[in-house]
Subunit: 194 residues, 2 copies
């Protein structure tokens, strides 16, 4: 099979857009999540993240990478998490991924992103951050730590799972989650959905 091989020098000399797509694609299939937050003033925000990672089960911890070159919405996400201490992860389903992807566009600062992209803002129990009504897997998180990664200015945001809601049908007696039952999409690179 014919192969393409790239050295470090090749990678450094690549066209910027080509390199961005290629390197983003190296981590393969990823899950797409909408991060829901609310500012101290009560304005809600949504941003799509594809770099969510499981950090441990006891305590139950999730990590996500926030990039320094993120669009406005992602900066708002980090600011809101820092000011309120809470956020939600909402797995993106095949029925609303087009709306979810729109959150990476820039919206006016004074409007709720839920309304802007047409997704339902939902509050569950007394959890302070907004969930996405359409999502089948909803996770409420409390900020535990933000670890700055000096090497490139990204941040690893670590949260503990405080609240969890999923369809009964998707949860097996072993604890396994049936991703098919969640209608979950997988992402490749920055913008390819499966």
């Amino acid at each position: 099979m014919e192969r393409r091989v790239f050295s470090l020098a090749d990678i450094q000399q690549m066209d910027k857009d080509f390199r961005t797509q290629l390197i983003n694609g190296l981590s393969g299939y990823k899950s797409a999540n909408l991060v829901g937050t609310r500012s101290a003033e009560g304005l809600s925000n949504l941003a799509i993240f594809s770099s969510v990672v499981h950090l441990g089960a006891d305590p139950a911890l999730m990590g996500m990478i926030a990039r320094p070159f993120s669009p406005t919405t992602r900066r708002h996400t980090v600011e809101n998490i820092l000011s309120t201490g809470f956020y939600t992860l909402n797995q993106v389903g095949a029925d609303f991924f087009a709306k979810a992807h729109q959150t990476s566009a820039r919206y006016a600062e004074e409007a709720s992103e839920f309304a802007a992209v047409g997704l339902r803002e939902e509050y569950l129990g007394d959890f302070p951050a907004p969930f996405v009504g359409e999502s089948l897997l909803k996770i409420g998180l409390k900020l535990e730590e933000i670890v700055p990664l000096a090497i490139n200015g990204t941040q690893l945001i670590i949260g503990s799972v405080q609240y969890l809601s999923l369809p009964s049908l998707a949860l097996l007696s072993s604890g396994h989650i049936e991703l098919e039952a969640l209608n979950a999409v997988a992402i490749g690179g920055l913008d390819t959905y499966y």
Copy 2:
């Protein structure tokens, strides 16, 4: 739709195995990667990781989470990376995921894991760490930093991409990688392959 809801107290009181499966499943679809390393004495090692994350494109950086409660093979992985400074990520294809999954078993300390699970140990160019011959997407990495996560004793291992090999057919002119052309598998939780 009937839903199951869990509070923090519910999660803390869960049966340990149930919680491990459930919390591992929260991050949704993930790509499976075999990490190839070689000890200072020249003994090669393979371990499967599902927590690989893209950290940035310029410089091209990948992160992966190593757990403190990892089996022997994963401890070897971290020791080898520390002692040699190099490692490989090899995307797991549908044709060899059963062999790849066996690397999470414990093997005798003096034998190569490649031979033990029946995968081909391959050296490319002058890259010092072993690649998996059967893998269609092969990434050679240089250790840049190990970030200890004090909250639960895990480590974020950060490497820079030094070498990259993939089928010409899988690489589009935009830089996008066609994951279907790589025959890549996606993992849910700890042990469910798609």
